[in-house]
């Protein structure tokens, strides 16, 4: 067990170490330096991609949670029998190949894809819509689909835990349905919502497959930069530095979010 954890932590330390070196020779000789970080910050386009990744992942996390919440609510409160069956039904596609699911979206949103050809066939449009593939929208839709299970499960669990008598109490005290939801159900389900936001946000920042297949040049994300550094550029220290920077950015983003949430909670209370 300890071995597992070592196997996990150790490579990260190596990334960290490697990011503080630069290659000085063709055989991979290297020396300690901050050069790789400098190379990153010297290029404004790198920073732009990092910023864009954070923005896209934020939008994805919010979209995914907004889409998943009503479904989780329905299963938690309105499904009486076979709740488990509903949950399995919703999470089943999540186990299938990620690559294939992203690929399916490429086929759906493509220039000659399912949506465009269907709309043309039905006579609703004359020309294929070109704003649906190879851009940020496509990335958001695809990721919101791919990570649905990560949002729906924590929200469902937190909704399921709510003591139903609290909701009844609110009704008995004369609150309307909307007010009850806003003042009782929603606040009590917040832990699930926060967990869902984080569970979607953190991994999607570094996603590589989706931007590559459906993102186009403007949907490029930080994962693509890391891949290029390790692949075509063959500059591993740079790739390591980008990885460290993006991990720090993600951690900082999460901390800011949690702190903001805490502040908000105090203000409301």
């Amino acid at each position: 067990m300890i071995l597992m954890i070592v196997a996990l932590i150790f490579p990260f330390l190596m990334v960290f170490g490697l990011s503080f070196t630069v290659e000085t020779g063709p055989q991979g000789q290297s020396e300690w330096s901050l050069g790789s970080y400098q190379a990153f910050f010297d290029k404004p386009q790198y920073l732009r991609v990092l910023w864009r990744s954070v923005i896209i992942s934020t939008i994805v996390a919010i979209t995914t949670v907004l889409l998943a919440y009503p479904a989780a609510y329905f299963i938690a409160f309105h499904v009486k029998k076979n709740k488990m069956r509903w949950l399995i039904l919703i999470t089943l596609p999540f186990w299938t190949s990620y690559l294939l699911r992203v690929f399916a979206w490429k086929l759906i949103l493509g220039y000659n894809g399912v949506v465009n050809s269907a709309l043309i066939y039905l006579g609703l449009i004359d020309q294929p819509l070109d704003f649906i593939l190879y851009n940020v929208n496509a990335v958001v839709i695809t990721l919101a689909h791919a990570w649905a299970a990560f949002a729906i499960l924590p929200i469902y669990v937190s909704l399921q835990k709510i003591d139903k008598s609290l909701i009844e109490a609110a009704h008995d005290l004369g609150e309307g349905k909307v007010a009850t939801f806003m003042r009782v159900t929603l606040p009590l389900s917040m832990p699930g919502v926060v967990a869902a936001l984080l569970l979607v946000f953190i991994p999607t920042v570094g996603d590589y497959v989706t931007p590559k297949l459906v993102g186009g040049p403007n949907g490029l994300m930080i994962g693509s930069l890391i891949q290029v550094a390790f692949g075509r550029l063959d500059n591993w220290p740079l790739g390591a530095a980008i990885s460290v920077i993006s991990m720090i950015t993600v951690t900082a983003g999460v901390c800011v979010f949690l702190l903001g949430l805490d502040r908000l909670k105090k203000m409301v209370a």
Binding site: A71, F74, T96, Y98, L100, R101, H171, D207
Partner: protein, 271 residues
């Protein structure tokens, strides 16, 4: 008392949930539907019905090699990660271990780290020790991401497990090893099978780690990825993808059923 709040409102919520299910399933169902379509492009209107893309699969170069490689990785990965999952789940649920929370947190780390960063860090680690990239390195990467899943499945199983049975067995003179074998193992069996199936699926379908960690041998997802560049091969990829989807669905359904069956036996079923 006001009108039953539970009963009012589900109509639009139910409609929404059904739409949401369609949104979730549509892309997945698209592949099989178009794999029987007699055209190279995935577009409407659909042409005639054909099975030739499926027949073409048999003649694909490298497909069977990739399939074999995927099995060579996924079978040992599921065995190793489930074995590690059993040990860790046992340790985390059985004993009052110092820093239980921290350990659980550390184990689930691979799930919340972007896979690409996990991939490159393993790549660097292998490289710095001069270990060649091969199916072995892919397997090690997959074990790291499979153990958390195995752990989740097994922990829920072992948490609802009455430890006094184990104690009884020990008091009656069985050795700890025989107690594990005769008492703990049978109770955990459905969980173990579920874990084997799920970890197999994860490893079998995983692309990104394999992409970074494989040498010259490609696994099935890498093979598919390499085929995506050729438009003419698209229909065959659809057929292959559909086959994989069907197998995954069957495996996961069996795994979930096993898991719930086990829960029902213990009287802790959610239903």
């Amino acid at each position: 008392m006001s009108a039953n709040p539970e009963k009012s409102g589900p109509s639009w919520l139910g409609t929404y949930t059904v739409c949401y299910l369609i949104f979730i399933y549509l892309p997945v169902l698209l592949l099989p539907v178009f794999s029987f379509n007699d055209a190279i492009y995935v577009a409407f209107p659909m042409k005639g019905f054909t099975t030739r893309w499926w027949a073409e699969l048999a003649q694909q170069d490298g497909l069977f090699e990739a399939l074999k490689n995927s099995f060579l990785v996924a079978v040992p990965v599921s065995l190793v990660s489930t074995a590690l999952g059993i040990c860790s789940a046992k340790a985390l649920t059985g004993y009052r271990l110092f820093g239980k929370q921290i350990f659980t947190g550390l184990f689930t780390l691979p799930l919340v780290i972007p896979f690409i960063i996990l991939g490159i860090s393993l790549l660097i680690a292998f490289n710095s020790y001069g270990l060649p990239l091969s199916l072995w390195s892919v397997g090690i990467g997959h074990v790291l991401i499979c153990v958390p899943f195995s752990l989740f499945v097994l922990m829920s199983r072992l948490e609802s497990f009455d430890h006094s049975i184990e104690e009884a067995s020990l008091d009656l003179g069985e050795t700890p090893w025989m107690t594990f074998w005769l008492v703990t193992f049978p109770v955990a069996m459905p969980g173990i099978l579920a874990s084997l199936l799920l970890t197999f699926t994860i490893s079998f379908d995983e692309f990104l780690l394999a992409f970074f960690l494989t040498g010259n041998d490609s696994t099935l997802p890498i093979y598919i990825y390499s085929q995506l560049r050729f438009p003419a091969k698209l229909p065959a990829v659809l057929a292959l993808g559909s086959a994989i989807l069907v197998v995954t669905f069957i495996i996961v359904t069996i795994a979930e059923r096993l898991r719930r069956q086990g829960d029902a036996q213990l009287g802790t079923g959610v239903e």
